[in-house]
């Protein structure tokens, strides 16, 4: 049986800054269509791992390959436009309207104006925001949940091969958060999603990677994660248990 080429591959990747090792010998690969969740405490290196994929950072040792090519050999701008990127608080441009925010990468890619408009309307509708009402608004005129939705669809606008999300729903109230998680589940896209929320990881992931102090402690399906006997995995699963007790 032929397995398709991995979309992203970490090959013995380490990353240090100022003599401190943030990531250590990380190896994993992911196929198109997967939703890989990187779970870990603050400072476990998960954000760093994410930034190594789109070339915001480069490995100190080892290689990160995207579509079979090391990130160091990619044209920096091309690589970033192949990958959508969403951060907490969305990082929307405050001086751009919603439509301009969502249309930014297609515009950078020189799409014709009417194609951009159509794409923006399509995406806004997809996440339940009426284009007629929201396209002309500025980010400060939106709720936190709406801003985050715009952040996600902005990253999707130019049909990237891969979506990278760094705790995108971290700052939202629990109800809005669940709504957005459900919307994310319905997206047909390959994604690496960073979170410290074990519930979110189990809900959204097709695979979960657990990072502890820069090393991958577990990598497998959510079902396997639930049975993991690893120390850090148990620590995270205890949070779930505690939630049930409450």
């Amino acid at each position: 049986m032929n397995t398709p080429a991995p979309l992203v591959e970490f090959a013995d990747v380490s990353y240090s800054v100022g003599g401190r090792e943030i990531l250590r010998d990380l190896s994993l690969s992911m196929q198109p269509g997967e939703k890989l969740i990187l779970l870990g405490r603050s400072g476990s290196g998960k954000t760093t791992a994410l930034k190594l994929v789109n070339g915001l950072l480069f490995p100190s040792r080892g290689q990160v390959l995207v579509e079979g090519k090391p990130t160091t050999e990619w044209d920096s701008v091309r690589l970033k436009r192949r990958t959508g990127y969403v951060i907490q608080e969305a990082g929307l441009f405050p001086h751009f309207t919603v439509a301009a925010n969502v249309g930014i990468v297609p515009k950078l890619e020189n799409w014709p104006a009417e194609r951009i408009d159509a794409r923006v309307s399509e995406l806004l509708t997809q996440v339940g925001l009426d284009p007629a009402e929201f396209a002309a608004r500025f980010p400060r005129q939106l709720s936190g949940g709406q801003r985050q939705r715009i952040g996600v669809v902005r990253a999707l606008a130019a049909n990237p091969a891969l979506l990278l999300l760094d705790e995108p729903f971290g700052a939202l109230d629990p109800v809005t958060r669940l709504e957005l998680q459900r919307q994310f589940q319905s997206l047909q896209t390959t994604a690496i999603f960073v979170t410290h929320d074990v519930r979110e990881a189990l809900l959204l992931g097709t695979r979960v990677g657990l990072l502890r102090a820069g090393a991958l402690e577990f990598l497998g399906s959510p079902a396997k994660f639930l049975q993991s006997q690893g120390q850090e995995a148990r620590a995270f699963l205890e949070v779930l248990g505690a939630a049930h007790v409450v």
Binding site: L56, K80, Y85, I87, A90, F93
Partner: protein
């Protein structure tokens, strides 16, 4: 008398406009360059700070004997005015650009914007209001300082003031001081309006 007022007012405006155009032309690109070179901040801002602490009359005096740029007249005056106007524009441009939210800048880079696109589409528009404030402050100061330029033969409204002091004639002093003050107020209001109109907070 009125013709002279008109001429000197015009001369004053020309001094200020030329000095401000040169100063912003130097300060804004320098500040942009500095945003990428943190180690230089202290030195460049320190130098601009020192320039600003030199009393204006002394600075005009210092420049006179310097070959090529010195001498009596408009050129020397404009150079001194430019040196004074540098700091507010330089500092505000730097602060404005460095103050752009880190998440917004990171998003811009991660979106695949080139360094030039990040600068023109994100950093400068978001820093515009702070930069314009620097230009406004510098312009108002320059209008005041330019009255002293008359001391080295550069003309402008200072001519009335120095003549009035020499002949102990308050009327003459006011002929220079009142229009200069009005000009400063108008510049402050006008540039303030542009700030609010084109660079909403």
């Amino acid at each position: 008398m009125w013709f002279e007022l008109q001429d000197l007012t015009l001369e004053h405006i020309v001094l200020v406009v030329i000095a401000m155009l040169i100063a912003t032309g130097i300060a804004i690109p320098t500040a942009i360059w500095l945003t990428r070179r943190t180690a230089w901040h202290r030195w460049v801002l320190g130098l601009a700070n020192i320039l600003q602490t030199i009393p204006s009359l002394a600075l005009f005096g210092f420049l006179i004997p310097i070959p090529l740029i010195g001498g009596i007249g408009k050129r020397t005056a404009i150079i001194a005015l430019v040196l004074y106007a540098l700091l507010p524009v330089l500092r505000n441009t730097l602060v404005g650009i460095l103050g752009v939210d880190a998440g917004v800048r990171e998003s811009a880079v991660a979106m695949g914007m080139t360094a030039r696109q990040v600068l023109w589409q994100v950093e400068l528009p978001l820093a515009a209001r702070t930069i314009l404030t620097g230009v406004r402050v510098a312009t108002v100061t320059t209008i005041g300082t330019a009255t002293i330029a008359a001391a080295i033969g550069a003309g402008g409204l200072g001519v009335f003031i120095f003549r009035g002091i020499a002949s102990v004639d308050s009327g003459q002093i006011l002929m220079g001081a009142v229009p200069a003050a009005l000009m400063a107020i108008l510049a402050d209001e006008g540039l303030g309006w542009i700030e609010r109109r084109f660079a909403p907070a």
